[in-house]
């Protein structure tokens, strides 16, 4: 298979075996070699069948790129510091010309231009989990605090809730969210709201517990807080998967995890699994051991391996190198809806096309609220032009983007109204 590689204005052509493409590392070295840019940090991208510019930064997306390239794999190389993040995915010029535009209403077009950060800057902020096992009126929300400067940012209070019991409706004491801190994590996810009733904290029911106890439980779990709430607004509930499509949702979810694995293991160890798998080094303590051989005042702290690992999570998880931490490829807006499909698989069968535009609208609004924090990347707009020409057309069938990473799924496990 032929590869057309473009770095700046230089083209290189070479070929790789389509069926045995090898590892990403090798490919990366090969690229460096053919362009003679051995000592440079570069970002490799390719134009996929939809005409989107997608990154190649791990074995999986390399494999994907090779397998979908037809007949030519177009590779674009940018220097790390010059990368125009906004050029990836969502901002291909072709998009505007294509049929997708007609799917959307005018509001979308007038939407402010948002820029999406590079995958390595992505990290999960919150997610809806256990949709398949919870009653539809409940929502289990996970807040990822690690690596975030934001406060968790909400308050709880005592209150009364009405429960259906064998003796009819009964008023029972309950715990409710009383306030959101503006700009806090809880508010920014959009998954929790004032007057939502808190039912569980990290899998433990709060009934019979005092406000102070629940507060302490939440704070004790603050590094990875999972709250099950009964939202006060029941109109935005996730509707459970029907029998037909449930499995597909599951499988797509698991396959999607391929795109996002190393972030979870290296920088965000507790991104996956619930709740027992959380016992990871995310929580591990910082240990500084002085060398006592020379008892000088110098705090010659030989940092143990535990320490380095822990301090990383402590020090707000520095952005991992692209090599070991490829993020999910950013998605064009049309794909955003598929993200929802992955997290709420039920939608596949319920309304594949009918309410798509509405969903898109909603998703994009939510996305906007999430992505705006990553919008401060210096964009090098000039270099985009050549890229955009090459990008091919976009397909509207969302099922083709199965390679969507799990991390992304969790990241914007959005609220869908039907």
């Amino acid at each position: 298979m032929n590869v057309l590689s473009l770095y700046g204005a230089e083209f290189r052509r070479f070929s790789v075996d389509r069926f045995k493409p090898g590892k990403f590392e090798e490919f990366y070295k090969l690229i460096m070699h053919v362009h003679r840019i051995a000592n440079m940090e570069v970002m490799i991208g390719y134009a996929d069948v939809h005409g989107d510019l997608l990154p190649i930064n791990n074995d999986d997306n390399f494999c994907k790129a090779v397998s979908t390239a037809h007949p030519l794999l177009r590779v674009f190389i940018q220097r790390q510091e010059e990368v125009d993040y906004s050029s990836y995915g969502t901002h291909s010029l072709t998009r505007k010309k294509k049929a997708v535009v007609t799917l959307r209403n005018d509001v979308n077009r007038k939407r402010p231009h948002i820029r999406i950060g590079m995958p390595q800057d992505f990290r999960p902020v919150s997610s809806i989990i256990d949709v398949d096992i919870l009653p539809e009126s409940h929502r289990r929300v996970r807040l990822y605090r690690h690596g975030s400067d934001k406060p968790l940012g909400f308050y709880i209070r005592d209150g009364t809730s009405v429960r259906v019991t064998p003796h009819g409706l009964e008023k029972v004491p309950g715990i409710f969210i009383s306030r959101m801190v503006p700009g806090g994590l809880a508010e920014s996810t959009g998954l929790l709201a004032v007057n939502d009733e808190v039912l569980e904290v990290n899998g433990i029911e709060v009934t019979g517990k005092t406000l102070d106890q629940v507060t302490d439980m939440m704070i004790a779990n603050s590094h990875n807080l999972i709250v099950t709430v009964k939202p006060v607004n029941q109109r935005n509930n996730v509707v459970r998967a029907s029998r037909i499509s449930g499995s597909s949702g599951q499988s797509s979810d698991s396959s999607g995890s391929s795109g996002y694995p190393s972030l979870s293991t290296a920088a965000a160890p507790s991104a996956h699994g619930y709740p027992d798998e959380l016992e990871s080094d995310e929580e591990s303590d910082i240990v500084i051991e002085s060398s006592l051989k020379r008892p000088s005042r110098r705090s010659n702290a030989s940092v143990a391996s535990v320490a380095s690992n822990a301090s990383r999570s402590h020090a707000q998880a520095p952005p991992p190198a692209p090599v070991d931490s490829p993020g999910p490829p950013p998605r064009p807006p049309s794909v955003v809806s598929t993200v929802s499909f992955h997290s709420q698989p039920s939608l596949n069968s319920l309304s594949n096309h009918g309410s798509l535009s509405y969903k898109l609208h909603r998703d994009l609004n939510l996305q906007h609220s999430q992505y705006q924090h990553h919008s401060s990347h210096p964009a090098l707009r000039e270099s985009n032009g050549s890229l955009h020409k090459i990008l091919s057309t976009m397909r509207t069938d969302p099922r083709h983007s199965l390679a969507l990473p799990r991390g992304g799924v969790e990241e914007d496990g959005t609220v869908i109204t039907l």
Binding site: R157, V214, T215, D285, I286, E289, S299
Partner: protein, 989 residues
Amino acid sequence: MKRFRRHGQESHRDRIKQELYQFNKTVEHGFPHQPSALGFSPSLQLLAIGTRSGAIKLYGAPGVEFMGLHDENAAVTQIHFLPHLVELVTLLDDNSLHMWTLKAHKGVSELLEIGRFTLTGPPGAPPSVTRVTAVLAHSSGELLLLGTEGGHVFVVEVPGFRELEERNISLEIVTHSIPEEYGGRRSLEHVESLQENPANPQQVLIGYGRGLMVIWDLDCQSAVKHILATQPLESVWWTEDGLRVLSSHSDGSYCRWSVAGLDTQSEQEKSEVPYGHFPCKAISKVIHVTLVLFSPPLRSSPPFLLFSGGMPRASYGDRHCITVIHSKTHVALDFTSRIIDFFVIRDGPDQAGEPSALVVLVEEELVVIDLQTEGWPVIQTPYLVPLHCSAITCSHHVSAIPLKLWERVLSAGALQNTHYSKKPWPITGGLNLSPDPPQRDLLLTGHEDGTVRFWDASGVCLYPMYKLSTAGVFHTDADPNDNMNQCTEGEWPPFRKVGCFDPYSDDPRLGIQKIHLCKYSGYLTVAGTAGQILVLELNDESAEQAVEATVADLLQGQEGFRWKGHTRLEVREEPVLFPPGFQPFALVQCQPPAVVTALTLHSEWKLVAFGTSHGFGLYDYQQKNNVLVRCTLNPSDQLAMEGPLSRVKSIKKSLRQSFRRIRRSRVSLRKHHLQDANARLEAELAEMELAPVQRKIEARSSDDSFTGLVRTLYFADTFLSDSSHNTPSLWAGTNGGSVFAYQLRLPSVERRAEDLVTAHPAKEIQLMHRAPVVAILVMDGHGSPLPEPLEVAHDLARSPDMQGSHHLLVISEEQFKVFTLPKVSAKMKLKLTAIDGSRVRRVGVAWFGSSCSEDYGESGLTVLTNQGDLHVVSLPGVKMQVHHPCIRREDVSGIASCVFTKHGQGFYLISPSEFERFSLSARCVVEPRSLVEVPHQTPTSLSRAQPDGASEYRYEQPERSSARRVMEHALLNDESEYLRNPVDKLSPV
């Protein structure tokens, strides 16, 4: 199959747990909070105290204690024992009557409520008709006479509480029997007093509030005599011969009336206002004891007259006095708090002999005065000791005190108690059946006035042993010559101060915050509110010495802070004379002088470690210098730096703000319509009231306040740098979840006095969950906690296993976490807060012996949470074993005061003056076991020795209280065991 086996293992473990752990609240030590009633049974020799919370407590001989609680949460207003029976009747604030009895069950008496009764009046009658104001338990033991607010007297048959309507003494009948001109149209008011004629049980005296007294004959159902007093009646006393009646009145007078004649109207013999001339307060109770000596040698002893109150209103109206007049002696006993009630104990088989003791219950203590010894000294109480004579600020428990130290503390204490009477404790009812305490335990309480009190906590009675005062080291405003028994000559009334309750601290900086006693060496360290740390040594001789002070600058050059709290205590430069006992020889003063929050002492290394909210230090008390000072302060933590006053200021500030807000709304009030604004204000107020309590959910950060506060300090000889050499080490844990470990280098024993001790930072651990570290513990290769210093040297503990690897257990408020040593890596943990939302407040290491097999036991952690629950966590596996709710979670001071023993028991304050003792151990339980038996009905048959304590047989017991006897026994036991097996003794492993 596998499942079956596992099940088998679990049930096996469950059985072991049952053998090891058992939760009991065993006994309450100290003085009942807010006592409201006092009762005494001369035949049972039992004292009963009722409290405002509805508790009733019975006390006899030391160790004989019973407790009951009324279901109603109403104050006990009166307690009456049924004469010659084991029943007693209580009257509560809610007008209900309760019958209690002491029932023997399996050889041990229990206090049980057997009946309750509320007087019901005729239909339509006002509630005052049946509101009980006076109770008389008739000597027949079958009748109860109830005087009411309406002036009627109801007769009730007991124990069944059957109303005998036909015998009721209605106000109408009484009114008819008295002269017209006295009765008039005015009401006689309520029944103030009911008294039985000691010489004729059929005659009962009814005293009405207005002053009228009527002698009623129960047999012929008619009034026999009447006494027309003109002053409102306070109390009535019928002399023993039945010939005279004393009445006390609200104008401060008492009268004596002769009721011997046949006239229907008795005449006044004497009327006196003892502290007269100027208006006086009421005499609330009067007692007159005359000796009727039938047997030779006939001698007449002058009577005792005792009354409470009657003080001149203007000059001494605020005093709480009982006046005792005997022959030429006249003393006004000046008590520390309000007098609840008092009675006199008399010698002799049927309580007809000489008065031996005056028992006074005042609001804050029980005072017993020896009336037979010259000068009427106070008898030290073996129980009901006011723990709170100065407020308790901390406590420390030391188990299994070596005999030597015990004796020395006892003898030092004996020298302090010379002003007490030598007489034995006069209340001797019941038989103490509890086994001898297995060991000698000390409870040390630190008080606000800078004293440390040593209590014998081995048995059921918390007995005061010794009192240490640290105030002498410092210059304070206190008057050193503040003598309790000061009495200026010629003063009238002749006051004499009695009692030890003195809650007024001269200088709050003196307050004791932390105590650590080494039971083997007799070294004690105490630390206080103003950052003072004293090191004391037990000395049997008095010594005059100056205490050398060393300043520890915990800020270590941290800048930008201003201490706004109290100043350092000023040390006396000149030598101070210290009495025998614990004598201070070294003093460290922290700078800034913040309250000491952690303290520990290692007597083998002669080091003391201390911590405050700013840092911690290590002091060498042999060379008297600081080895190490470490600042733990977070530079952004202003609150910790500014000291306690700034917080007050911030409250002030917020108050000011809220006032401003109100003012602002008042301004708007003028502008707008008044009503309008009012409505808005009301709405605002309503909103404020409705605004729910909310809690912020936020992860802890290093910027939180008081993260640098040192919570715990720990000495350990363990593997800090490599796994082949163990070294002394110091561990410190802070509020912010940090642990600091220092390796200590001690010079050899020969060079100990010259060469410096050095400390080098070895490790720092930052717990990611940042919860406060409440305890640190190192476990040896076998998983047992390291022994205390000198414990091994005294052959009282097995030396720790130094072959296997040691483990570090860090207990934070949220989790128990085990790390390996010397390389610190997390091994296992137990989460508490994440699971049930409770946080560790108190933790102790305890040894739990099996109740079934003598040689099996396990060590574990006893844990008290902020929810008031007790947990046992196994060691070294940190697994939850049992948990029991113990303290109400609202009872913050109770939770904060909890202290654990080394054998699975504990104490916590249920009121400022009472410790509740509890036990989590199945083997180690200290609880009262005592027997009270029904005395014989006729006093003449008392020649037989009875175990109930009513007889002279018991009364003639040796001079010592039984608690002391028990102790002596224990000492002897201990000694003999020492001789027999000096190695194994008391070793918990």
